[in-house]
């Protein structure tokens, strides 16, 4: 490294200039700039290509049904009547439910691992939680059908309806079949847990010790230290992890379709079967040969694009509103 420094010091211009103007170095920097920008541009190009394909394929159906496509609950492939409202509703509800369940859990685990866990337990548990991301979605679906849904039907639903006497509350009405929006929310929560937890863990690790020591020195209890000094520092990272998890929840197909009941019905009750847009496409695409049917499925895909954009935009707006403090870094 010393050989890099010497020539530079010798020819260094006035200190006000940015180092990139040092002789010989600007070429590398330019290449680097182009490389990173180029690779970054792959993402919007890819997305635009996909969006164009999906909207183009879905246009015939959208033209036929107009905006009513997203408000109608009919789904009759034989008679050519399609409406995606239950699927849209289900995607939004199941994803939000999954986030509500998973985020506190994931952040809690991450805090536990980074603050309180003794060294010997930290790595194994971190590994364990990260491994949740490795389970194939098919296996989640099968486990959901064989273990989770019967458990919900046999224990959770009766508990809520009978023991807590909430059976008439609109969120919990209806016969207890088992496959339900609630089951989908649970399985999605398990699936997105590792993403939120892993990112939060890394971010918490990066919080400088001085933050923690300062808070403790001022008399904070351990929890107050975390809540007031560490978490705000890590906020943007946590939000990043949550958005990753949200994306996964919105787009998950295999696992959800096995536990949600796949019924084209708008219902306020979490204990009733429902549908999601991703499951709809996954369930029917393999067998659909009728042009209007395929186009309707692609239109659902286009709708999914829109839902993802809107939900992400809302998430960002919420973050922007609550983040008075600058995000991590200086």
């Amino acid at each position: 490294m010393s050989e890099d420094v010497a020539p530079r010091i010798a020819s260094r211009p006035t200190p006000a200039l940015v180092p990139a103007e040092i002789e010989g170095a600007s070429y590398g920097d330019r290449v680097y700039r182009w490389a990173t920008t180029g690779f970054a541009l792959v993402i919007p190009s890819l997305l635009l290509l996909i969006a164009w394909e999906v909207f183009r394929a879905g246009w015939p159906a959208l033209k036929t049904f107009g905006l009513g496509f997203f408000t109608s609950s009919a789904w009759d492939p034989v008679n050519g009547n399609f409406g995606a409202a239950p699927a849209v509703f289900g995607t939004i509800v199941s994803s939000i439910l999954a986030l509500i369940i998973a985020t506190p859990l994931a952040v809690g685990v991450a805090i536990f691992l980074s603050e309180f866990a003794p060294n010997w337990i930290r790595q194994p548990i971190a590994f364990f939680v990260d491994l949740l991301a490795a389970i194939p979605s098919v296996v989640y679906g099968l486990w959901g059908v064989l273990v989770l849904v019967p458990f919900i039907r046999a224990h959770v639903m009766p508990f809520v309806k009978d023991t807590l006497h909430l059976g008439d509350f609109p969120l919990f009405t209806g016969a207890a079949y088992g496959p339900s929006m609630f089951a989908a929310g649970c399985i999605l929560a398990i699936m997105i847990l590792p993403y939120i937890s892993a990112v939060t863990r890394e971010v918490l690790r990066a919080v400088p010790r001085s933050q923690r020591e300062a808070a403790l020195a001022l008399g904070a209890t351990r929890w107050e230290m975390i809540w007031d000094a560490v978490l705000p520092y890590a906020r943007s990272g946590i939000v990043g992890g949550v958005i990753l998890g949200l994306g996964r929840a919105i787009g998950e197909t295999m696992a959800v379709t096995m536990v949600i009941g796949n019924r084209h019905e708008l219902s306020a009750s979490l204990f009733q079967p429902g549908y999601t847009m991703a499951s709809l496409i996954a369930n029917e695409f393999a067998e659909a040969t009728n042009d209007l049917h395929i186009s309707a499925l692609m239109a659902v895909g286009a709708g999914l694009f829109l839902v993802t954009v809107i939900v992400n935009a809302i998430a960002r707006w919420l973050v922007w509103r609550t983040a008075r403090v600058g995000d991590g870094g200086t």
């Binding site: 008679n79 379709t257 796949n262 393999a286 067998e287 659909a288």
Partner: protein, 363 residues
């Protein structure tokens, strides 16, 4: 120094690949007698229906052992199979439902043969622990159950067909498929044939708007739900009835007999249906509700979809040989896997068609 572990992993990976391909050749030598090169895998590619997958996988395995020709068949769904055939990304397709005219027009390789490979049947499975004898049902009754018009097991119409059987006074829970499927197509084909109300309503298709009932994913989902829920009834392929030990109903065929689902009954149905066909039928027919002695009403043909003129002569020959093998030797495997062999009367015509694929001459 950091690169060393990565290098070690890479070498280990390559070694493992080499080892397993070596021992694979050794261990599977009984399966590839003709020493065909294992470099890329398969000689022919096929895609389509899930329903005949267990049988086709047995066929390709035996065929590879007998002749060394490898065929890669994947069960991506009938619709997927048709689509891939239209786009010529596979050598043959497979479908439970015949292609419609508009689908055939879109096939980029020209005209398509429908070659039935085996007969399948759909059973009405139910869960009534108290009922020990098999239940007898008729087409109109089944249609009304799935329409939601008959809601209790001890309905008078069911009782009339089952004298002496004590039927419980419980609700009927209808279970159907939640996703698109060839099984639904066959079942709804049958219901449309026996019930004008059904035909005008939900109709016939791989995916329907069901008036009542609970949707489950896959035959395994439906079978599992029926197994767990007393009072449930649904439609599943025969293999799932046997493997889950469900009870299946005897259905009344147009001749008035109550027939249990079995491969002989399905073959009889196919036999009776094709007897009435013109000489050069393309076999895009439905054999549900077929009148014939001992015919099971919900039977169906499943098809191999092949281009009449294939551009690659070598592949055409291989495919034609395989189809002829499937139509003759392959039929022996059918009943052990819960399918029904094709009636012998069909074989000659279909073999002639397979021959014409090899030579490329239209039949």
């Amino acid at each position: 120094m950091r690169r060393t572990p990565v290098a070690i992993l890479a070498v280990a990976g390559l070694a493992m690949t080499a080892c397993s391909s070596g021992s694979d050749k050794k261990n599977d030598s009984s399966h590839s007698a003709a020493g065909v090169s294992t470099s890329g895998g398969a000689d022919l590619t096929g895609a389509g229906a899930t329903f005949p997958y267990p049988l086709y996988s047995r066929w390709v395995s035996e065929y590879a052992a007998a002749t060394g020709v490898k065929i890669n068949y994947q069960q991506i769904g009938s619709g997927g199979g048709i689509k891939q055939l239209q786009e010529q990304t596979v050598d043959f397709g497979a479908s439970d439902a015949p292609m419609s005219d508009s689908e055939m027009v879109k096939a980029k390789g020209g005209a398509v043969f429908h070659i039935p490979s085996v007969v399948g049947l759909v059973a009405i499975a139910y869960n009534l622990p108290q009922v020990t004898q098999p239940l007898k049902l008729s087409g109109p009754i089944v249609a009304d159950i799935f329409l939601g018009k008959i809601t209790k097991w001890n309905d008078s119409r069911i009782a009339a067909l089952n004298p002496g059987v004590t039927l419980p006074n419980s609700d009927i829970l209808v279970v159907h498929r939640s996703e698109g499927s060839g099984t639904t197509y066959v079942f709804s084909d049958y219901l449309s044939a026996v019930s004008p109300t059904w035909k005008a309503g939900p109709g016939k298709g791989k995916e329907l708007q069901w008036p009542v009932g609970l949707g489950e994913r896959g035959n395994d989902g439906v079978a599992g739900r029926i197994k767990q829920t007393p009072g449930a009834v649904g439609y599943v392929e025969m293999a799932f009835v046997k493997q889950n030990r469900l009870s299946s109903a005897l259905l009344q065929n147009p001749s008035g007999q109550f027939v249990a689902p079995s491969d002989e009954a399905a073959t009889a149905a196919a036999d009776a249906a094709i007897a009435k066909l013109p000489a050069n039928s393309d076999y895009r027919i439905s054999i549900v509700n077929s009148p014939g002695a001992g015919a099971y009403p919900i039977s169906s043909l499943t098809y191999l979809l092949v281009y009449q003129h294939m551009t690659d002569a070598a592949k055409a020959k291989k495919l034609s040989d395989f189809i002829k093998w499937a139509l003759t030797t392959g039929q022996k495997d059918a009943s052990s896997l819960d399918y029904a062999p094709l009636p012998p009367s069909m074989i000659a015509k279909l073999t002639a068609r397979a021959d014409s694929v090899a030579t490329g001459s239209a039949r």
